[in-house]
């Protein structure tokens, strides 16, 4: 417990004071009352960042003009280009390939492999290192109807019900149909799945599933997928060229308005390059690092919505960009663990959520969005949040209840990774509670695609978290790793057919960027920022104040 400050230790005493009575009640099955459906709606409307109207406004330019979006996203879409389009010499091609993949996470790498198998030369532009992505961070697992008592039909129902029936049906059909193929493909690439001695896949339930179909590889499923597909891409380096630290900043079109490449930016030498290709795939992942309304995030460093920005300027519509998954329990203390995901399992095992007085204020297993709203309300409106030494506020997640309810040692056995992540900082979560607050987890919406990952622009494909529609306005755990691989591979295959059967464009152009910059000016958006932002800026005020040059 020495990892806590004296102030926090003082507050923990309040939690300990109420604990015996709470455990006693929990043993009898008495719970804090859940909200009624009407209250849920009210709480969501007032406190959930997706519903709150302050912090949202109409976007003024581009294909979604007039749509209500969170301020951060609207401002991003109204930004000007980082480049002066006229200063780029499009006649000088620096890189040339059949397919240009933008973003080397799960979706991009799967696409590169599929396209290479179909005979294409692939160029991959990525922002950080190959695999520095959200894919590598996924812990829980990947869904697929592979067992006898299950089928893609039932998987379909789970996905669309979980998304409140707002998903695009054809995308759900493609997702669930291909799922067994993807799991099989990964097995053939040598992925170490959790298996029974006879080779049968071990499977578990996830939130909202009717069958056990969550496949895993320890608690680092995403990392195992990423390192396996990356290793395979490296084996094919003759055909798949990876450019690290060279993100794309604008798409390039040809005289017929088809995708024909991108302008890449070397983050280190600050040079811009022209990359020319017959087809282009946007697989740049999510937007957690926009920190919408100041929320921390579980996402990796490069999750800044670049792909949406570039596609938008090329005339592609986005959908559901106002729908974000906030995970109710992200760690906010110690500072090193900020944004760290605390799995739902902790509450499933009986840990309650408490305010600074050590009192319960909500049912701990409300749906994710409702639970988040309750916590935000308690901190910002009621004012009973707990302040951390670095100026964050949150509530307690009373993990020591787990051992009291299920027996000594349960926390260590059921939550080994979380136990270690706190133990490092001298906190024993089986003995003292954790401080949590909702954290920005997943971009539900994104680029509009069809079941072959095609966008509204010819030759332009999109797959993965950057694309929308697959999960509707709510995603179930385990369907995203699946999504990125299903649509990544489909994009690679379809791009291969397209690239082989279409003559490449002759003249390259960035006129759409010029036009977009003009539209921003004409809309009178003053002080328009530039985007894509590529990396978030975490320098503190005292440093910024001196960066005057």
């Amino acid at each position: 417990m020495s990892g806590y400050t004296p102030e926090l230790k003082e507050l923990i005493r309040k939690v300990e004071a109420t604990r015996p009575a709470r455990v006693e009640k929990a043993r009898k099955g008495e719970h804090f009352p859940a909200l009624t459906l009407e209250q849920r709606q009210e709480w969501l409307r007032k406190y959930h960042p997706d519903y709150k109207n302050d912090g949202r406004r109409k976007v003024l330019v581009g294909p979604n003009r007039g749509a209500e979006l969170p301020e951060e996203i609207a401002a991003l879409l109204e930004s000007k280009s980082r480049i002066d389009p006229l200063a780029i010499d499009l006649k000088r091609t620096d890189y040339e390939a059949d397919l240009l993949v933008i973003g080397a996470g799960g979706a991009g790498t799967a696409a590169a492999l599929a396209a290479q198998e179909a005979g294409l030369k692939v160029l991959v532009s990525t922002k950080l290192r190959h695999g520095d992505s959200n894919t590598v961070m996924a812990e829980g697992g990947i869904q697929g109807a592979t067992q006898e008592g299950d089928s893609p039909y039932l998987h379909y129902l789970d996905v669309i019900g979980g998304g409140h029936f707002s998903n695009v049906p054809e995308l759900v059909a493609a997702l669930t149909n291909d799922a067994p193929l993807i799991i099989h493909w990964l097995e053939g690439l040598g992925m170490m799945f959790d298996k029974m001695p006879d080779g049968r896949m071990k499977v578990r339930h996830g939130g909202g599933t009717c069958r056990k179909r969550m496949h895993s590889s320890g608690d680092m499923t995403g990392a195992e997928i990423m390192r396996v597909v990356r290793d395979e891409a490296r084996n094919r380096s003759g055909d798949i060229k990876i450019l690290e630290f060279s993100p794309a900043v604008e798409l390039i079109l040809d005289e017929e308005g088809r995708a024909a490449g991108a302008v890449l930016y070397n983050l280190e030498t600050k040079e811009y390059y022209v990359a020319r290709a017959r087809a282009v795939l946007i697989a740049t992942g999510g937007f957690g690092r926009l920190h919408i309304q100041g929320f921390p995030t579980t996402n990796h460093y490069g999750a800044t919505a670049d792909g949406c920005v570039m596609a938008y300027r090329a005339g592609v519509r986005l959908q559901d960009m106002d729908s974000t998954q906030y995970h109710p329990t992200g760690a906010i203390f110690p500072e090193q663990n900020v944004g760290l995901l605390i799995t739902e399992k902790v509450r499933g095992l009986g840990a309650q959520i408490l305010n600074a007085e050590g009192e319960q204020f909500c049912f701990p297993l409300e749906p994710r969005d409702v639970e988040s709203a309750c916590i935000i309300r308690e901190c910002l409106d009621i004012g009973k949040g707990v302040a951390t030494p670095t100026g964050r506020s949150g509530v307690w997640l009373d993990s020591p209840m787990i051992d009291m309810l299920h027996g000594e040692g349960t926390v260590r056995k059921e939550l080994p990774a979380k136990y270690i992540q706190f133990k490092r900082y001298d906190m024993d979560i089986s003995k003292s509670p954790m401080l949590i607050y909702p954290t920005l987890h997943y971009q539900n919406g994104g680029i509009l695609i069809n079941e072959w990952a095609e966008t509204g622009v010819k030759g332009l494909y999109s797959a993965g978290e950057v694309a929308g529609g697959v999960h509707g306005r709510n995603r179930l755990m385990g369907n995203s790793l699946l999504d990125v691989l299903v649509f990544g591979r489909r994009a690679g295959l379809r791009a291969a057919e397209y690239a082989k059967s279409n003559r490449p464009g002759v003249k390259l152009t960035l006129r759409h960027v010029e036009a977009f910059n003009r539209e921003v000016e004409e809309a009178g958006i003053d002080g328009a920022r530039t985007a894509p932002i590529l990396l978030p800026d975490y320098s503190p005020d005292h440093v910024r104040a001196r960066q005057v040059g």
Binding site: L154, T297, Q336, I382, R392, S539
Partner: protein
């Protein structure tokens, strides 16, 4: 809002650190230059607090991507330590050097063609593995607490299953390789071994094989098309009526009452 309680506005947003007044400041040395930073930050956040913006050396910020391997010493202490910058707390008088990149040896191979003897293939690809001198530096260096020397020993012995499992938690940060006197790229050899193990040694899933041929034969296409075309109310009804597989059901044994849509 209740009258008597002052609402609490969070000060820090996103990942920027704003220390509260009176926070204790400590000196750290980033590549030798001194900076004062608030205590309790990770090395990564301390470096950002000092005013650096990462390009290299930062990825997931969550201890799994291996981008942020770091060596450090404390002033006056001879011991060379290592850790992940996003997971290690910066302490007073820490002298820090990140290792964002290290050249590695990674021969290409064709996984589908390694049928015969994987151990021989390992010897052909990574002969240096068999020259490990057992110094244990890699094990001492690994930020994931992996017994690297041991998995190398298992590889030498041909226990590929053991090596695959022992190396499983590797985040491929490269710190072990940077210190190896035998010039072994341990984590790349381990990557090869894990894939060979996953493909050839772990038994394959028979039920998956069968399901794949069903999918390829188009068995589910019609049913899925039907669902996609169905009115929302009907889909809702089907959704609500789903039968839930019991948590403790044995995989492969349990069957639902209604088997029409399998």
């Amino acid at each position: 809002m209740s009258e008597d309680k002052k609402p609490l506005k969070p000060l820090a947003t996103g990942d920027r650190t704003i220390p509260p007044e009176g926070a204790k400041m400590i000196p750290i040395y980033i590549m030798g230059r001194e900076y004062m930073v608030p205590e309790t930050l990770t090395i990564m956040k301390a470096v950002e607090y000092a005013g650096y913006t990462y390009i290299r050396g930062c990825g997931c910020r969550g201890g799994i991507c291996g981008a942020c391997g770091t060596f450090y010493r404390f002033l006056g202490d001879y011991r060379l330590r290592s850790g992940l910058a996003c997971q290690t707390v910066a302490g007073p008088n820490m002298v820090i050097m990140q290792l964002p990149f290290f050249p590695l040896n990674r021969p290409d191979y064709v996984l589908d063609e390694i049928k015969g003897n994987p151990h021989e293939e390992l010897r052909r690809l990574y002969p240096e593995v068999f020259k490990c001198i057992g110094c244990g530096t890699c094990t001492r260096t690994c930020p994931m607490d992996i017994d690297v020397m041991d998995y190398i020993a298992l590889m030498k012995r041909g226990d590929l299953k053991g090596a695959a499992h022992k190396s499983f938690d590797c985040v491929m940060c490269g710190l072990c390789a940077s210190r190896c006197p035998a010039q072994i790229t341990q984590f790349m050899a381990a990557m090869f071994v894990r894939r060979v193990y996953g493909k050839y040694i772990l038994p394959r899933a028979g039920h998956l094989e069968r399901r794949v041929s069903e999918v390829k034969g188009g068995k589910y296409e019609k049913a899925l098309k039907g669902l996609a075309a169905m009115k929302q109310d009907e889909v809702k009804k089907l959704y609500v009526e789903r039968e839930r597989e019991p948590d403790l059901a044995e995989p492969g044994k349990w069957m639902p009452r209604d088997v029409t849509n399998l």
